[in-house]
Symmetry: C2
Subunit: 528 residues, 2 copies
């Protein structure tokens, strides 16, 4: 039996486009004499469809498209994800199709409802493990979470399954691929059964699905793996060595996740070009580099917006970066605009010394300029803030936080440097000086991030425990961090929730990102 895992990049809601892609892959598979071609979870409607699932016409349209696929399966079998429906509700489902007949439907039993997942909001739980016979092989079919939890594979085996096929939409975060590999390998070995795992690929708002579909033999050895972060068709044939794509090191993997996330967000939302405020710092430099790799240099515009606090070195670094990337570079000074604001506010601000209000005004003028360019030319604005900043609220709402997408939103500052270093190894695009100089917002004289924040090496470790591990302040102190710093950081994180609620979406690359992954109340008097 010849099985192909068709790891496709779907778009949420694009039922017609996804269906066309599925049919194209079926045709391609048929030409390769494939017996069975497998598509990811909810391939027809895209994942996660969120509240589109509450629309009856969305469900009907997806069912209609399932039957379009059925009609295109002459001489081939297909397993694919769709939304099934009965009188009780809707189901996250796998359709099993052979030679123009829908021979069965499996309903996902284990519905994840944690982290970024809300499947119990929409779906009824499946009640029955199912094994189908396709070309004489007994195949147990399950969906994503089903294989992470207990017992489904065991019941598949008890029902006679000789092969397990799992269709997934498993979002990326760093080290996740190893988790998946361990889980599935153990299931294969424990139940003495080969497992074919077909994962989604592509970006969808905050999520990137990384593909890397896998095949394990019945003793748990990895015997096949598709590409990560790309569409791929992984073909398996008995007795023939299957392809095993290499998995890159962590920095490269994260970089590729960010590139795919940016590309899909921009293009799937019908934008072509992006505009980025370049400050000469590491965050905007890496953001522009990712954007250039994702979209091509002609689709990226860098805007340098100096104030009187901007150093010459910042201009040199920003301009050098733009030159190295080959992107358009525009300079728009903000001093005169700031002056007119200060004149307009003069009466109200009279006698009060300069403070954060004037600092934020500069950031907001820059935000306005980028948005004006966005409105005029149809660019999407990419923001440049990293996870450390957004955690602490060290960012200006409607200022540097203004934009449609925030590529580094889930990348802590220390990791920004590591990823940028990795990228520079390919070719030096980010000027060396950007790595060396102390981070600064340049919103007042001689300002440095460390005037306000602890050193990033310490800050990022505190944030890791506080945000990703939900440790309390006392637990952090007992881990050896200084009490004063811990209390300061925890308080900054809690107070910045209102800012995060208004920040653009970014790409999840850690086990716990902001956004749908971490749902904190704004009104919150809990003393951590």
């Amino acid at each position: 039996m010849k099985i192909a895992l068709a790891q496709i990049n779907t778009t949420v809601g694009d039922i017609r486009g996804n269906t066309k892609k599925i049919i194209d892959y079926i045709d391609a598979a048929r030409k390769l004499n494939i017996d069975l071609v497998v598509f990811p979870e909810l391939a027809i409607c895209g994942y996660p469809p969120e509240d589109l699932l509450l629309k009856n016409n969305f469900i009907e349209s997806n069912l209609h498209s399932l039957h379009d696929v059925v009609d295109k399966t002459e001489n081939i079998a297909v397993i694919l994800g769709f939304v099934d429906k009965d009188r009780d509700g809707i189901y996250n489902s796998a359709g099993v199709i052979q030679d123009k007949k829908l021979i069965g439907v499996y309903h996902k039993i284990l519905l994840p409802n944690y982290g970024v997942f809300d499947e119990k909001r929409y779906f009824k739980e499946g009640k029955e493990v199912k094994v189908f016979e396709i070309s004489g092989e007994k195949i147990g079919i399950n969906i994503c979470e089903d294989i992470w939890g207990n017992d489904i594979v065991k019941y598949d085996r008890e029902k006679g399954a000789e092969i397990i096929i799992n269709i997934s939409a498993s979002p990326y975060h760093y080290k996740k691929i190893k988790e998946r590999e361990n889980i599935i390998s153990n299931k294969a070995r424990n139940y003495n059964v080969p497992i074919f795992y077909c994962n989604l690929v592509g970006g969808q708002d905050e999520l990137v699905f990384d593909g890397a579909s896998m095949i394990f033999d019945k003793v748990g050895n990895l015997i096949g793996r598709a590409k990560q972060f790309e569409e791929d068709l992984l073909v398996y044939e008995d007795g023939v060595n299957c392809r095993i794509e290499k998995i890159p090191d962590e920095e490269e993997e994260i970089y590729k996740a960010l590139v795919l996330g940016v590309r899909d967000y921009v293009f799937k939302n019908n934008f072509r070009k992006v505009v980025i405020g370049l400050s000469g710092g590491i965050d905007s430099s890496l953001t522009a580099t990712i954007a250039t790799d994702a979209l091509g240099r002609k689709n990226v515009v860098g805007v340098f917006m100096p104030s009187k606090y901007t150093s010459d070195q910042s201009r040199i670094d920003a301009e050098t970066l733009a030159h190295n990337l080959g992107i358009k570079f525009v300079t728009i000074p903000i001093n005169s605009i700031l002056q007119t604001y200060l004149i307009a506010l003069d009466k109200e601000f009279a006698g009060i010394k300069r403070d954060i209000a004037e600092e934020n005004l500069q950031a907001r003028i820059r935000g306005n300029i980028l948005m004006a360019l966005s409105n005029k030319f149809g660019y999407l604005v990419l923001t440049t803030g990293n996870k450390s900043e957004i955690s602490c609220g060290y960012a200006t709402l409607y200022g540097d936080m203004a934009g449609g997408f925030a590529p580094l939103k889930d990348v802590p500052k220390t990791l920004v440097y590591r990823v940028a270093e990795w990228r520079n190894e390919i070719n030096t695009v980010i000027p060396e000086n950007v790595f060396i100089k102390a981070p600064t917002a340049e919103l007042k004289e001689n300002q440095k991030d460390e005037d306000t924040l602890p050193p990033y090496e310490i800050l990022d470790r505190i944030l890791y425990y506080y945000i990703e591990k939900d440790k309390s302040a006392e637990e952090l102190i007992s881990l050896g961090f200084e009490r004063e710093i811990v209390l300061k950081v925890v308080s900054m994180v809690d107070r910045a929730e209102y800012k995060r609620r208004q920040s653009p979406p970014g790409i999840k690359i850690t086990p716990k990102a902001f956004g749908k992954d971490r749902r904190m109340p704004i009104t919150n008097k809990f003393a951590n």
Copy 2:
């Protein structure tokens, strides 16, 4: 037996403050010779605590406070909501306490996971209906959703319950009180049992809990009702007529929900004062009126920011409103600021005609001015956009959408007028002219909302069906709306999702609000 429903206003995370309030009410009840005093769902930690529930120290702190309450129950019985914990997980629970002993714990069985609710994200389901004997009475206890679903009251009765007590945190939307009354009245009548329903009161981010706790006799008659939108202690005694507070008409009820929502958001987030951009239009007029009623006139600042497109009449209307309300009124013209932006952008914009970019710049300058005042003086900025605008994206991101809280976010424009008219009946604060003139953003010459949007009477009906009822475009057309208008509105709503994702929270007053209530993907190619 003398029972009191203590409908208190808790704050999420303020475990110490909530506990102190609970103990104060217990003391007050004891002085009234109450036998049993009942508090709302999750009274100790506030509702909904969201991802605070994932923090172990949050759960421990709440358990610790439960025992503080237990110690204060000499000669009285108490039922109250808290988070219980066992080796399997955590439970949305009711503690039953009598005379310094925790005599039992009930775990909520039906966990809502739709609309604004995510209880399956956190809680394990309770497995057992429970009936407790308190002062010789057999009392079946359940929690919120338990009484909306089937069978729990039936099982309570089968277990011998002679009284049912339900503790709730039921969020407000218009007409909801009637739904609750019908549901509970039917349960009482069907199972021939009196029901005591204790609801939470207060604002929490997007939600307002309206209180209006109720008592039904065993044939389903309403025999007691607490105040709506206020803390209250409703006392019931056998053979004594109980108080039944009146429920206001819809406009008044909505107005009060908005006032409570604003007051609690502002004060619970440690602000004292708010600042509002006054345009002379109905939205900012109503927002300022609500804020003044919620916070007091000394805590509201109105800022009028004219451009060359601003009419004299707008200034007169804004100034008259501020005068009528007795709030501070500041004028900050934006023309000169706009000019410096246009000069700075001159090179980039050369040869391109004026469009939405210049319009949005004006709105964003105003946003920046309000935020500068916020940063300088610690004011919270209230935005003034209504649900019709935010639905269609007829609002400027980082412009008129800039602010910490959006009181009218869930109020359609036609309802804005109705609510404002109701408020003006008390005393005329909003100038009559504001009701008469055509709505305009005044961002270009002779601009009217209806240049871009259908008439609000039609728009609001389309939005009702499309957003609250999830009807498709075709269904809307078959209801009699013009195809062209339907397709335009539906497309505007879908394309504005990215703006809504970055909008401040507002107060839910309809069955489906934006925010946690309606979770649409941004990247979405579904053709409705």
